[in-house]
């Protein structure tokens, strides 16, 4: 019997599979399809201080390797998440959940994290720093080490729960951003968020997405994710949640060899609602095929040898 357990920032998980934020809502849609307690955990929809409708539609486009989305962080706001979503979630999910937090200022991150820190159901705080800093000329917090460090510091001050900074692949040097987060007390990093891309509607001769650009995700981003996880693994000693284009149990092994301790699965859930269930069910057989007894033993394995 192989062992799929991993430990992420001190919390043991039955397996490394974490549906990625924004692709699993608050879990209910999937709970109607299968018992989501089989998951390692899941990261809920990116939550902000105020309720947000997000961007106008169309918000979705396609490309050869997956999809582009410009949802624009639609969410009911942190207070409604706490009052409505978490109690509903409690009925169907009995493990610590990963809270995903977005913000447009350092103060907003801290405020939202502080509120979610008080929620017993929340195991980890995943802080998405791919959002534009409204006080910083609109560049993403995750674009440079300095602003990433600021967010980390502010969040660290308000919670003792594990904080995982979610990094953007647009960073000029993602390893440096990860290191800056670690230095300010981050317990982990997760990567990669989506890569900004664009499609144009040939008939209208205008950008297809109402928001002009959207984030690329899906299997077309997988080698980028592997490369960045590999680079970040060499720069930090905190655990990495690897994601970007994972669709199979083999992909899980590949990203873990690159250095990930746990694995986010995003786009795959949208087109294959049972994707995470299937990956978890296939994992033991794939581990056996590659002679892996304990999943933890392969984390970062591609760096040695």
């Amino acid at each position: 019997m192989v062992n799929t357990k991993v430990t992420l920032c001190g919390i043991e998980m039955d397996n490394p599979i974490i549906p990625a934020s924004g692709t699993f809502g608050f879990g209910y849609e999937f709970a109607e399809l299968y018992d989501i307690n089989m998951l390692g955990t899941f990261s809920f929809k990116g939550t902000t201080r105020e309720p947000r409708f997000g961007n106008p539609t169309p918000r979705i486009a396609e490309y050869a390797g997956g999809l582009l989305n410009a949802v624009g962080l639609q969410n009911p706001g942190v207070d409604a998440v706490i009052e409505t979503e978490l109690p509903k979630l409690k009925q169907v999910f009995h493990k610590p959940v990963m809270a995903n937090i977005s913000g447009f200022s350092v103060a907003e991150y801290a405020e939202v994290c502080e509120k979610l820190d008080a929620q017993e159901q929340v195991g980890w705080l995943e802080v998405n720093i791919s959002c534009p800093n409204v006080h910083g000329g609109g560049a993403a917090f995750g674009a440079d080490p300095k602003s990433a460090a600021e967010v980390t510091k502010a969040v660290r001050a308000v919670t003792k729960k594990p904080i995982i900074l979610k990094l953007s692949p647009t960073a000029a040097n993602i390893a440096a951003v990860a290191k800056a987060c670690e230095d300010e007390g981050a317990d982990g990093v997760s990567l990669i968020n989506t890569m900004p891309g664009m499609r144009i509607d040939l008939k209208r001769r205008r950008p297809l997405l109402a928001n002009t650009t959207g984030g690329m995700s899906g299997p077309g981003m997988f080698p980028l994710a592997v490369r960045m996880v590999y680079q970040v693994y060499e720069a930090v000693s905190i655990p990495i949640v690897g994601m970007g284009g994972v669709t199979t149990a083999e992909d899980v092994i590949e990203l873990m060899l690159a250095g990930a301790t746990a694995i986010g699965v995003g786009a795959a859930n949208l087109v294959e609602p049972y994707a995470c269930k299937t990956i978890i069910e296939n994992l033991p057989a794939v581990m056996e095929r590659y002679g892996i007894e304990n999943l933890t033993e392969i984390i970062g394995g591609a760096h040695h040898g």
Binding site: E29, R59, V71, L270, V271, Y274
Partner: protein, 246 residues
């Protein structure tokens, strides 16, 4: 709505009109519960599924009608009988037939027409007097009109170029019907807007949006309504006239 992932087998895939095809499938249709729902088809070589309205269904059989629009629907024309398709079924809320009154008016444009067929069939079965206004660009694109008539529905055709029926839009066809009790409609958004303005009763409007998932997980298809934000794929595609915000 209860989503079901299932494998359906193509039994027929034939052209009905210019660029319009009928796809018949067999397999488990148990998740389909109301006309106006849709299915989401996995096509080999494409990442996103393609949402197509249920035109008609029975236990074990499903009919879809699709228009060739881009690469995906183009590829669909090549699916031979015997092809197995991975399909998410039972998506969307669908139309509420209990609201129709005695003389429901059904207004459809282009590939907004197929879901109205399944609706008409059920309304007729309940003894309602059904009038259908069907809009097309031109005569060569007309489809399903005979099938509506075969159900016993009164059919009014409108074509933009006047090559068949009334010359004009579906709203011109609606003007010819004075005594309808309720309205059901589906079609491109500009048409829905015009129908909304012309509509003298309450009614249900079915919307289209580009979709990431089709079952409520991604917020790709959100719209604002008077009753709050809704997802076209899960809380729709059918909205009440009263809640619509243009």
């Amino acid at each position: 709505m209860i989503v079901k992932q299932t494998t359906l087998t193509v039994t027929e895939n034939t052209g009905l009109a210019d660029g319009i095809y009928r796809l018949r499938l067999v397999g488990d249709t148990s998740a389909i519960t109301a006309p106006g729902q849709f299915v989401n088809l996995k096509l080999s070589g494409f990442f996103l599924r393609r949402p197509i309205s249920v035109c008609d269904w029975s236990d074990g059989e499903l009919t879809l009608i699709y228009k060739v629009l881009g690469h995906g629907t183009e590829a669909m024309t090549g699916m031979a009988p015997g092809t197995e398709l991975d399909v998410l079924t039972g998506l969307g809320n669908g139309y509420d037939v209990s609201r129709s009154g005695e003389h429901p008016l059904l207004v459809g444009g282009g590939v907004g027409i197929p879901p109205l067929y399944g609706l008409a069939k059920r309304l007729v079965a309940q003894g309602k007097r059904v009038t259908a206004v069907l809009g097309f660009n031109r005569a060569s694109e007309i489809f399903l009109a005979d099938e509506f008539r075969a159900l016993g529905a009164e059919v009014i055709i409108a074509t933009a170029d006047g090559s068949a029926g009334l010359k004009g839009l579906v709203t011109d066809g609606m003007a010819a019907v004075s005594d309808y009790t309720y309205l059901y409609t589906c079609g491109p958004e500009p048409m829905l807007k015009a129908v909304y303005s012309a509509c003298k009763t309450s009614g249900q409007f079915s919307f289209e949006e580009r979709m990431g998932c089709g079952f409520g997980a991604c917020m790709g298809c959100s719209c604002k309504t008077k009753y709050g934000n809704k997802r076209i794929c899960k809380d729709g595609p059918v909205l009440e006239k009263e809640e619509i915000v243009w």
